[in-house]
Symmetry: C5
Subunit: 114 residues, 5 copies
């Protein structure tokens, strides 16, 4: 799924009949620091999202697996409103991983026969 921020709405009167009643929102992709990226998606809303909200977007055939999008010509749906993100800097995790690996390889991990 992709992380994004709702920034607006698309208005479309003439459309496929199976799109009737669906809200079409403009979602700007954001990075983990929540800064806007260059790319955006038009997604159907399934969780009553508002402008400014952080959301998750599901794409492809899975976008048709919500109650509001079933069997409709929709390839992107907002299926969650994000409360919070919690993560560790990937570079730190990489360092910790390499340190553990070096320890294992140098035989310093005090392995004792069970």
């Amino acid at each position: 799924m992709q992380l994004g921020r709702v920034i607006g709405t698309v208005w479309a009167t003439r459309k496929d009949e199976r799109l009737e009643g669906l809200r079409l929102l403009i979602v700007q992709d954001v990075d983990l620091q929540l800064r806007p990226k260059a790319s955006f998606t038009i997604a159907v809303d399934s969780v009553q999202s508002g402008v400014g909200e952080l959301v998750l977007v599901t794409k492809g055939s899975s976008a048709r697996q919500t109650r509001v999008t079933k069997d409709r010509p929709v390839d992107a749906v907002i299926m969650a409103s994000v409360d919070n993100l919690e993560f560790t800097d990937p570079a730190l995790l990489e360092q910790a991983y390499r340190a553990r690996l070096a320890q294992v390889e140098s035989g310093l991990d005090g392995y004792v026969e069970p």
Copy 2:
């Protein structure tokens, strides 16, 4: 879904039998300022689009969920004609979001027990 502008037509006489009767349009991707991007798609038309029109394109298996594209070898369909876009500058939304966050964190939001 992706935002695009119809710029032309593809003519193809020899084709899979399930494509008979479908209009194949050339859709240039556009950004939110409606400026043409470098990429384009050939999409089947399901809403009688004309050259110059702003449209939404659905891709992948969802492109087969309109009446005209069902069970056909089609991976892109124009399923809406866009009347209007309404959106806020992502940078402004980011600023507002960070301001609210700072306010919450500094305890200045005048929280009162209900």
Copy 3:
């Protein structure tokens, strides 16, 4: 769908049994001026394409919707041979669009009560 030019063939003797009898062609992506792009696809042929021919390629699950590719492990199919492309320069269409918009906004479009 994507626009491409057939440039060659892939020979593969050892393969999944459901690929037996299918022609695997190399399709170079081309832009609207028909100049080769950097990317290419290996696609199954469903319309007797020859080297040098301009074609349309359908990708993803929709690539399994032709008679020859049904239920096969195929994610790209040539489903049309292109006779001709007809299109307007996107920059011109954008100018015309902005001109109409400006006219509407300045009230110069001579609106008359019906």
Copy 4:
């Protein structure tokens, strides 16, 4: 489908039960000159591929259409071993195409009533 070269193996003990018994290979994408590209894919093997082998990879839902991958959480499968590629330089094909076009347009193609 994508052209790649098998360069190694992924070992994974803890995994979804439907992945039991499948070989997970690392496939480096290659260009038509068979030079390694920057991107790679982890794909399930369905044709007994070995390291160093040139292969075709099918992605998406079509990757579930081989006997070994049916109904499994797999989005990439090696479904053919490549014996040989045969292709013409796209730039040459473009030149030939433009030459034919120019000939047709200047009426020099010696059209004779049948």
Copy 5:
């Protein structure tokens, strides 16, 4: 499938009902040297992954083929925890391939009638 490292969690209270009970993890894409790439995915966990762990992510409709993700609006799932990677430098494999090819072409491979 794509190789990644779990770096954190997304918290989302308001969401599609079919997402209830699923853990949403942030997975940073990594290269074969396990260095973090710029891109990341939000994926549902199906193998009890922890932060720092190397994992495989399946995308698209295949992401719905695990027990926990069936029929849910999910386009990315962690379906394996990676123990180890084993691979050869693609440039070395390319050299070996070209050497074999040259040998075959110069008739030096000592072919003997069976």
